[in-house]
């Protein structure tokens, strides 16, 4: 038994069909719990007022915006090294989800920033980095759409993802130089084990974050399935044409 057997599209589809119902239920349950709890069940912050409720969307979506890109980076590498089609298609499937997460993080960030900083948009390093990340998603998706041969598309987008990651990190570093920010420090410092948010906010936040992760996984599994089916249909058609 090796994990790579699920690199076979057909096996992957079978497994993904079995996992998905559970995943969707869990995702829906935790997203709804997290957000409803966050919206109805948390007090106002003494400083930020009710805007603190935005945290339950902003933080998870920002986290997934970055995680989606990291996942694309890993699957791109797997495609380049081992040439498993599922891997390349999973990267393709994840990109639009990551992009929507980036947009959500940007919008909620702007809505949160307006009352806190007095402006919708500030060229703060974090906000700027997310804007750049959004551009990278846009380019990546556009490149997938522009190339006809699916293998070439997978190859080229994988390299773009690799090179893009390096430049995205570089940009992150560069904007720090360019403008010190207004943005508060991270809300969930996992590495230090400490927390900067009070428990009343932290529990629903964690649930919401888990929900966004599960939602992302469910969406990506479903979308990967769609990509596999599209490829399979094209492959079957190509074979049928050759039989004539």
């Amino acid at each position: 038994m090796s994990i790579w057997q699920y690199a076979n599209p057909v096996k992957f589809l079978a497994l993904s069909e079995r996992v998905q119902p559970v995943l969707w239920v869990l995702a829906a349950a935790s997203v709804i719990t997290g957000l409803v709890w966050g919206f109805f069940g948390t007090p106002d912050d003494y400083r930020q007022g009710s805007t603190v409720k935005i945290i339950f969307i902003h933080v998870p979506s920002a986290m997934m915006a970055i995680n989606a890109w990291v996942m694309m980076l890993v699957t791109s590498l797997i495609w380049l090294i081992r040439r498993h089609h599922v891997s390349a298609l999973a990267a393709k499937a994840a990109a639009p989800v990551g992009m929507v997460m980036t947009v959500i993080a940007l919008i909620t960030g702007a809505l949160w920033g307006q009352p806190m900083w007095g402006t919708w948009w500030a060229w703060d390093p974090r906000l700027t980095s997310f804007l750049i990340l959004f551009l990278f998603y846009l380019g990546y998706i556009a490149l997938w759409a522009a190339i006809e041969d699916p293998d070439t598309a997978a190859d080229l987008t994988s390299i773009l993802c690799l090179v893009g990651s390096v430049f995205a990190l570089l940009s992150r570093y560069a904007v720090n130089f360019w403008n010190q920010g207004l943005h508060q420090g991270t809300s969930v410092p996992v590495a230090t084990g400490g927390r900067t948010v009070d428990d009343t906010f932290f529990v629903p936040l964690l649930i919401s974050m888990a929900g966004f992760v599960l939602l992302f996984l469910a969406l990506v599994l479903y979308r990967t399935g769609t990509e596999i089916r599209t490829r399979r249909a094209a492959a079957l058609l190509a074979r049928a044409e050759r039989n004539l």
Partner: protein
């Protein structure tokens, strides 16, 4: 409905926009998935018929 105070617009539109985007993504994903599923089923059936 909790009292959102003077920030009602920001909080509500945050949740609203997020909901809208997520539902949009979900709808698009499901529609594309359905189409692909149907197209594949049709092709598989045709091929079975032929041989």
């Amino acid at each position: 409905m909790p009292d959102l105070g003077k920030y009602a617009f920001e909080v509500l539109s945050s949740y609203g926009a997020t909901l809208l985007l997520l539902v949009g993504l979900l709808a698009l994903t499901l529609r594309r998935g359905r189409t692909a599923r149907a197209a594949l089923k049709k092709i598989e059936a045709e091929i079975k018929q032929d041989g």
